[in-house]
Symmetry: C2
Subunit: 428 residues, 2 copies
């Protein structure tokens, strides 16, 4: 059986898809029973030179060359952008073509609608490559943890920010030097906002939360904090307490009866002994905690041409299997339920807190009084000598809720001579 593929986009991932399809054609046919053949690619810029694969298919700039081509059963969308990709995917699904996409922004924001269109048309819509590059986390969540109650899905799901934090921690680079290195190595865009402010991780976390809990969060449901405010001193202090500082995406059940979900992207302190602390540079990892299975972690490359292309290929071979068995149209994730979002009072964790305070008599007494009033108590405390008349106080606290932290933030904001320089959760 031959299965025709139409490619929207021939950038790094698109080229990788073509290369794997060509290089491993024999193995793919042996394992799926199908010949997967690229019939057409549609690109924005026809003039661009393309290398790394044999070009034995036409390349045009007219979407209809794919959408109206009856020889094409599967559309691969790897061109990025939300609006144009949405239109094309919707048209493809409506034309009863299966769709494989790596577009996390689109799936996170309009996935629910597209999934419904795919179901209505009896075709597959897969997007393994949208989360954590080469790590097969979505298919694993939907096929291997179906019977378990997942209590938490958490991960290092943005390679750019993890690279920057790793370089700051291990090579003692400043944030700006580490960002510059990431840009030189091609891990960061010239405008890194999407990565370093946590939005990219937030899109991926929305998709992970959907697969783990069956919920449909939107961006405004998430607490999102990036890494731009992190300093070398914060990292050094976290290290001295035995923790790595990592940008994590965490979606978890909280509350006494575990009936609410907290979803958050933020820098957190991870104990050096935890597997997540060993995930360095551009690598990603996703941790799944299940009531039955315990703690499982999937680790691997979070981006890159070939790892991401491999996830697209895994989707393509799954469509091929569905075609052979005559079973397409099943949702990638069949899990839907309503769970409330957590209230600030339910989001409880130990904290790493940095306070800068004028080095005057009674200042420390005043600080400790504020925390006592908010019922936040310390487990570890470290004061370093004052520089420029400002003392730096670093503390680890007993568990405290976001509501308590909001209270202390307000108190400190309204006080003179004291500043809450950093506040991060401890991951456990």
């Amino acid at each position: 059986m031959e299965i025709g593929i139409g490619l929207f986009g021939l950038g790094t991932v698109g080229s990788g898809v073509v290369k794997i399809l060509q290089d491993n054609a024999e193995q793919i046919t042996k394992r799926t029973g199908a010949h997967l053949v690229v019939k057409q690619a549609v690109v924005r810029n026809l003039a661009k030179q393309r290398t790394g694969f044999r070009q034995n298919f036409p390349i045009t700039d007219d979407p209809n060359d794919i959408l109206a081509n009856p020889a094409i059963q599967i559309v691969v969308e790897v061109m990025g952008s939300i609006d144009q990709a949405y239109t094309i995917i919707k048209q493809a699904l409506t034309a009863k073509k299966h769709v494989v996409t790596a577009n996390k922004d689109l799936i996170a924001s309009r996935g629910q609608e597209l999934v419904a269109i795919a179901e209505a048309n009896g075709v597959d819509l897969f997007f393994e490559a949208a989360v954590a590059g080469g790590i097969p986390i979505l298919r694993t969540l939907s096929t291997s943890f179906t019977a378990d109650e997942i209590s938490r899905v958490a991960g290092i799901i943005n390679g750019t920010s993890n690279f920057i934090l790793t370089q700051m921690a291990t090579n003692h680079l400043s944030y700006h030097a580490a960002l510059k290195l990431a840009q030189e190595k091609g891990f960061a865009e010239s405008d890194p906002t999407n990565d370093v402010d946590g939005f990219d991780a937030a899109y991926k976390l929305i998709i992970l939360a959907n697969f783990a809990f069956g919920i449909q969060p939107v961006m405004s449901d998430l607490t999102i904090q990036g890494i731009t405010g992190l300093t070398d001193a914060d990292i050094a202090d976290a290290n001295s307490f035995g923790y790595a500082l990592k940008l994590l995406g965490v979606a978890q059940r909280v509350g006494e009866t575990k009936d609410a979900i907290s979803i958050e992207v933020s820098p957190q302190l991870v104990p050096f002994t935890h597997p997540l602390a060993t995930v360095n540079n551009e690598n990603n990892a996703v941790l799944v905690n299940g009531e039955s299975v315990g703690e499982v972690m999937l680790y691997g490359p979070g981006a890159g041409e070939m790892p991401t292309a491999n996830s697209v290929l895994s989707d393509l071979t799954n469509v091929a299997t569905d075609l052979a068995l005559n079973t397409p149209g099943r949702p990638f994730n069949s899990f839907n339920q309503n769970i409330d979002l957590a209230k600030p009072s339910q989001r409880i964790a130990r904290r790493f807190i940095v306070i800068e305070v004028d080095d005057t008599p009674g200042a420390m007494y005043s600080v400790t009084g504020m925390f006592a009033a908010a019922k936040i108590s310390f487990t570890d405390l470290k004061q370093t000598p004052a520089a420029n008349g400002i003392a730096r106080l670093v503390a680890l606290t007993h568990p405290a809720s976001d509501a308590q932290i909001n209270l202390i933030r307000t108190t400190i904001r309204n006080a003179d001579g004291i500043n809450l320089a950093a506040e991060y959760k401890l991951f456990s």
Copy 2:
């Protein structure tokens, strides 16, 4: 739709399966569309007290109560043993019942035959729980790396030996003290041979190699070395060079054109910076290297009642899906090909070598002469002061083949006053 389940075995894993089916019944039905109901359990010892679940099904000791029960569509075999399990699984498959088993010994030794029987009868035979407990590695290999060429699958796949090695390395216990602790904690049997001599890992590696490379190795194809010969001094020396000592199962393509497979269970030195080095105590991890995807690692609990039961459940829900779609009978692993086993000359790695030599003039000259003759050269060398007139020489070598190592072993065996005390590969 109700799906009837018959359980052979109600030990820890069997009880865990019943517990999850009962506790998560609603979620399982929501996600699979089916009610999975235990109809019957068959055990060896009817007198044994069983707790941890509601016993709302009959327990007998006659296999026919399951095999001849038309209300049972899926047989779960979690009683261990090879011979009796083989007979029961064969009868179940022939009676057109789907089978889920956690029996690694059986699948590793007679899996090929049982898979053929399942296919001929159009029923499923799944065994995710047979390898690495709660880690969903087999389904991942068969659904997410189908289009990739896997170059290596390697892992820490025996929790008992990993617990012992971790305790030796971190708490400086002797081998015997660590084994005793493992037995007290229930991680090791009273006769630990199967775990510490590498046989358990070998069974799992055979199954992993089948899924990764489509080959059908038998036990005699494997090089198997356990951990009983490892000393505290070996571990300390490996650590001092920057490596952890881990019992690994490694199946990889070797040779200039990567056209042969080397399969081996042995202690190896893993760089501290490698993710496998951070896998401690009873945990397991499987590393997959693919030409496209790069390096992916799955980490989690390698044994235990609930993690293993969760893998059985993931198989059960996949059978339920196959029943709903009317697609049972597909092999769990559809990959079959012939690849030659590697020759000793193709098995090349850097080595960690410990030599004990009489502390006499010219002894070291004699040793270095032997290695020069075998064309094995050192990258690191450390000699510690002689105790009882015996000097301990620890070395790391440049890459050397098993053929070269076999040669030097013979040379040393035939020489007086010199002993090859340890020789382990460096994993990279």
